[in-house]
């Protein structure tokens, strides 16, 4: 049996599996229905779901699909079967640009000693609630 599952980490999507190279056209159907290895022809999609109470779409995970329509339906079947959502966004993973973990030091650490950026140094009148 060929590889059924293939791991992709965020920011680490291999070029031939949907990341980067846009010139490669995926086939519309698996050329051999029984062979899941063929599914790697299908690009990876990132799925965002808005829940009933939620105001914004939240990232739920990723899945494979031949096109946007199939991605939305796959997302419906994979991520909303337990009443999780009322709206679905899909975006092909290759269009997501991620920050580089190597940049963490100069990206995030400088914020650590700048507590004054939090709006906690104001005296709030009692009448103002829910802050």
């Amino acid at each position: 049996m060929n590889n059924f599952f293939r791991k992709s980490y965020y920011g680490d999507i291999p070029e031939d599996k949907g990341g980067g190279d846009q010139s490669k056209q995926p086939s519309k159907v698996p050329s051999n229905g029984a062979d899941l290895g063929e599914a790697s022809d299908w690009p990876l999609w990132e799925i965002f779901i808005r829940s009933k109470q939620g105001l914004d779409h939240k990232h739920m995970g990723s899945l494979h699909a031949a096109d946007a329509q199939m991605a939305i339906e796959n997302a419906r079947d994979v991520y909303t079967r337990r009443m999780e959502g009322i709206s679905i966004w899909v975006v092909e993973s290759k269009y997501i640009h991620a920050s580089n973990p190597d940049d963490a030091e100069n990206f995030y650490e400088p914020a650590e000693d700048k507590v004054y950026r939090h709006p906690t140094f104001y005296d709030l009148p009692d009448e103002v609630k829910h802050m």
Binding site: F4, K28, V29, G33, H64, M70, E73, N74, D77, V78
Partner: protein, 268 residues
């Protein structure tokens, strides 16, 4: 009337149970993980519909038995004399099942599974649409709930028919083969049995022949988009709704009923 009414419910339930069981055979074997989940969801929807119809049928069977009419031995064996959704699903024999032959056809490849679902969902869509107006509140309610599920089954299977039909040379050919194998079972969907006509005459059910034109139009539209030829008239195979089944149903029931037959009343 009572017998036709129960037969009609069993027919509706059996169609859903057997197709649901067929689809469930894909669980863990789907062509891709996401579609494995999709077909399993559909299997569960169908089995859920079957449960609703069986539960109502069991209620009517128990009611009529209490009223003193003759018992149907195979419906109460091992279950304390009362019919239930379980006795109806697990303890009836092949000739007592009233599902259409289409629903018991083997999965074979993905193309055939998809086409079987599409042909049946198109039929079920128009059927439930009409059944929402049933004079029997329970049937109308089940139809209304199920129609939402079937609307998605139809959408999903239509898109796959188009995707495969208008896909690669190989997928197109597989759809053509699937049509050749399954088309002969479509006639039965619209050929009314005695219990269907009786149910229709009481506004409880629908005469399926009245759904044929709408079904043909739907199938034609999708086939056209899928670049698949709409078949010429062929000689139709029928009998499933009357209990005259292919050998395939025996294998399904052997699988489905083994546990309850071997270990009656077992629970888990």
């Amino acid at each position: 009337m009572e017998k036709e009414c129960i037969d009609y419910l069993l027919h509706l339930a059996d169609d859903s149970l057997i197709l649901g069981h067929r689809n469930s055979e894909w669980c863990g074997h789907g062509p891709v993980l996401e579609q494995d989940i999709a077909i399993t969801n559909i299997a569960l929807d169908l089995i859920g519909q079957a449960r609703n119809f069986y539960q109502y049928a069991a209620q009517l069977i128990n009611g009529s038995q209490n009223a003193g009419s003759s018992k149907t031995p195979s419906l109460d064996g091992g279950f304390g004399g009362e019919a239930s959704e379980d006795t109806l699903a697990y303890l009836r024999d092949r000739h007592e099942f009233k599902n259409c032959l289409l629903t018991e056809q083997p999965n074979d490849d993905w193309a055939k599974t998809i086409l079987r679902q599409f042909l049946f969902s198109s039929y079920q869509y128009f059927l439930y649409e009409e059944l929402q107006g049933s004079s029997t509140p329970q049937i109308a309610a089940i139809a209304e709930k199920s129609l939402k599920e079937v609307t998605y089954h139809l959408r999903w299977s239509s898109e796959w028919v188009i995707r495969l039909g208008d896909g690669t040379k190989e997928s197109h050919q597989k759809m053509i083969s699937a049509i050749e194998e399954l088309w002969k079972y479509t006639g039965e969907l619209f050929e009314a049995t005695g219990y269907e006509l009786q149910a229709a005459s009481e506004n409880m059910g629908v005469d399926p022949s009245s759904l044929k034109t709408k079904w043909e139009q739907k199938v034609k539209n999708v086939f056209r988009e899928a670049t698949l030829p709409y078949p010429d008239k062929v000689s139709m195979k029928t009998g499933g709704k009357q209990g005259d089944h292919s050998e395939y149903l025996s294998h399904i029931l052997a699988d489905l009923q083994f546990m309850q037959r071997a270990y009656p009343n077992s629970e888990w």
